[in-house]
């Protein structure tokens, strides 16, 4: 439902700006927030955070893994899982075509990268969602890979860390996309019973079915500054209540003051914060 909003947004500029990062030769980029023109390399060296105003640009999965975990420690899993148009769904475009385009654009089967990594040499089962693949929407593959990520943590008895960025459920997979909410959340019940920590890092945007399942269920919920986090998206709510929403509504800082996240963490501090809390509850010393 709330997927409405990222679709609307996609029309505007947020995604475009982020996507420009992937165009070779595109050396300069404008900050959405402060309008400063930034040299791309400076931005990258600063964890894709605007050096001037602190705006957090969206980040592609591999950059994020490199930023947070031990160098070259990430080993992907389940890379071969791919989506299929089992409902023969078609709107202005068939799902089959949408998949083909998204795969061509991202060089990836679906909207999540998952596998094992280490943090200060401690094993972590990790998944990172990729908003540039169909708005990070959750279909069968995303649900399956997140579930396997949780189950890997269970099997290896190591913490699970998930970076979310998703407009919600993937409509083109109909009811099956909805059921991924139950599947992923259910896996977290097993993980919780086993006493293994789960950290959710909520990145911009995390809405709809993703926010209402594994994204919000962390033992620790950390949000990136300014990230949109919501069940219903702003546009849906505005249509429902027929009034404009207040500034900052559903942003990370709003979620913090409403008790939903433990901390809003600057991306440049995230590795340190993850290291600290995992050491506290699980004993992963930063040796």
């Amino acid at each position: 439902m709330s997927i409405i909003d990222w679709f609307a947004k996609r029309e505007k500029n947020t995604v475009d700006t982020t996507e420009k990062l992937n165009i070779p030769g595109h050396l300069w980029i404008k900050c959405d927030h402060c309008q400063e023109i930034l040299f791309q390399k400076d931005l990258k060296d600063n964890a894709h955070v605007c050096p001037k105003c602190g705006f957090h640009f969206r980040m592609v999965a591999m950059d994020r893994l490199a930023l947070i975990f031990d160098p070259a420690s990430f080993v992907p899993e389940d890379e071969n899982l791919g989506p299929t148009d089992f409902l023969s769904f078609s709107d202005s475009e068939s799902y089959t075509d949408r998949i083909r385009k998204a795969q061509a654009k991202t060089k990836r089967q679906d909207a999540v990268v998952s596998g094992m990594a280490t943090l200060n040499h401690n094993p972590i089962s990790v998944a990172v969602m990729d908003f540039s693949y169909m708005g990070g929407s959750m279909g069968s593959v995303v649900g399956e890979k997140i579930t396997r990520t949780i189950e890997r943590g269970l099997a290896k008895r190591c913490p699970v860390v998930v970076f979310t960025s998703s407009g919600g459920a993937r409509m083109q997979e109909g009811i099956m996309s909805l059921m991924q909410m139950a599947k992923t959340s259910g896996a977290l019940d097993l993980l919780g019973r086993a006493g293994i920590p789960y950290v959710s890092v909520l990145c911009d945007p995390t809405t709809g079915g993703t926010s209402a399942s594994f994204a919000i269920l962390g033992d620790f919920n950390f949000a990136e500054p300014g990230a949109l986090i919501s069940f219903a998206g702003p546009r849906v709510i505005e249509q429902t209540i027929r009034q404009k929403l207040p500034d900052g509504f559903q942003r990370a800082e709003f979620l913090l003051s409403h008790g939903m996240v433990d901390r809003v963490v600057d991306r440049r501090e995230l590795r340190a914060t993850l290291s600290l809390v995992l050491d506290m509850v699980w004993g992963c010393p930063a040796v």
């Binding site: 109909g174 009811i175 959340s185 079915g209 709510i237 409403h258």
Partner: protein
């Protein structure tokens, strides 16, 4: 009884029959063969309409204002129903109801979304769209059931969780997500029926069950066809096509392995005969509870997880 748009031809025939009957009575002319002819035609039209319903027509039946609601089902199916209120933290959401009842001697905890049958009641019930405290009330009652070893039966009937400012402030996402996780962990049998509209995460928030059934004219969908159409087709008027493509009917949902079976409704829809539908639901509950009554909490948990764990279609 409100006639749905696609029932109009049928309505016209029924009206004609009534007119002829009146005429026959008032003028003392025998029109019985004429009447019988039209009745036969009506019957044929009726079968034709209801046996070839399009998904969006099914959706209209699922949303029919006279369709039986959760509280009525609780009372029709179980004896001694007693409603229990409140989440013990913030409020008592009228859009989700719950309480204890006895079905042929078997004690259960009922949970359901609650719509109204008229505007006033619908406003009170927020058209069946819960706020976070509704999901939290449901959770409290399910936890009570789990504590005392009572099976849980949930009835799904909502356009979705309420998309409002305060609902977001109080953690709509959190409330639903927590229910998904906690329901997976209960050691008692859980049976769910989608009795009308199964709308999105707001529906699933009370739907993580060992057995899931669709009423014949119920729908279950990740997004309302209207919402889907306005996003994907950029045109809300394409809702009919979206309803078709989303595969939301009982047959589709069972075909995809998301529901386990279909509870038949009388021709025309459950609103024509609440009690026959109640009996069918009751029979299904009793069959399932009998079967699951010998299973351990761990088995119930594991089989519930296995059920949802298997959902998803992908290549590898």
């Amino acid at each position: 009884m409100k006639l749905l748009p696609f029932e109009k031809p049928l309505g016209e025939l029924y009206e004609k029959i009534e007119q002829l009957k009146t005429l026959s009575r008032e003028s003392d002319i025998d029109l019985s063969s004429e009447i019988k002819k039209i009745e036969k035609r009506a019957e044929a039209v009726r079968e034709d309409i209801y046996q070839n319903l399009t998904p969006s027509q099914v959706l209209q039946i699922a949303r029919h204002p006279n369709r039986p609601d959760s509280l009525s089902f609780f009372r029709l199916i179980s004896e001694d129903f007693i409603e229990l209120h409140g989440d013990r933290a913030f409020g008592d959401d009228p859009a989700i109801v719950g309480g204890l009842g006895r079905i042929d001697g078997r004690r259960v905890m009922w949970i359901g979304h609650q719509k109204g049958h008229d505007t006033k009641e619908n406003i009170r019930r927020n058209f069946g769209m819960p706020n976070p405290e509704g999901y939290r009330k449901a959770l409290r009652l399910m936890q009570m059931a789990n504590k005392f070893g009572l099976p849980i039966v949930t009835l799904i009937d909502t356009p979705g969780a309420y998309p409002g400012i305060e609902a977001e402030e109080r953690g709509q996402a959190e409330a639903i997500a927590r229910n998904l996780r906690e329901m997976m962990g209960f050691g008692v049998p859980i049976v769910t029926f989608v009795i009308g509209e199964g709308g999105s995460g707001g529906a699933l928030g009370i739907g993580v069950a060992n057995r899931v059934y669709m009423l014949e004219n119920a729908v279950y969908s990740v997004i309302s066809p209207e919402g889907c159409a306005s996003i994907l087709f950029r045109d809300a008027k394409q809702a009919d096509i979206a309803a078709k493509n989303l595969k939301i009917t009982a047959k589709d949902i069972v075909g995809l392995g998301v529901a386990d079976g279909i509870i038949p409704e009388p021709l025309g829809g459950a609103h024509h005969d609440w009690s026959s539908v109640s009996l069918a639901i009751k029979a299904q509950i009793l069959r399932d509870l009998a079967e699951m009554s010998t299973q351990t909490p761990e088995t119930l948990r594991q089989s519930r997880y296995a059920k949802f764990r298997a959902m998803g279609v992908f290549t590898s």
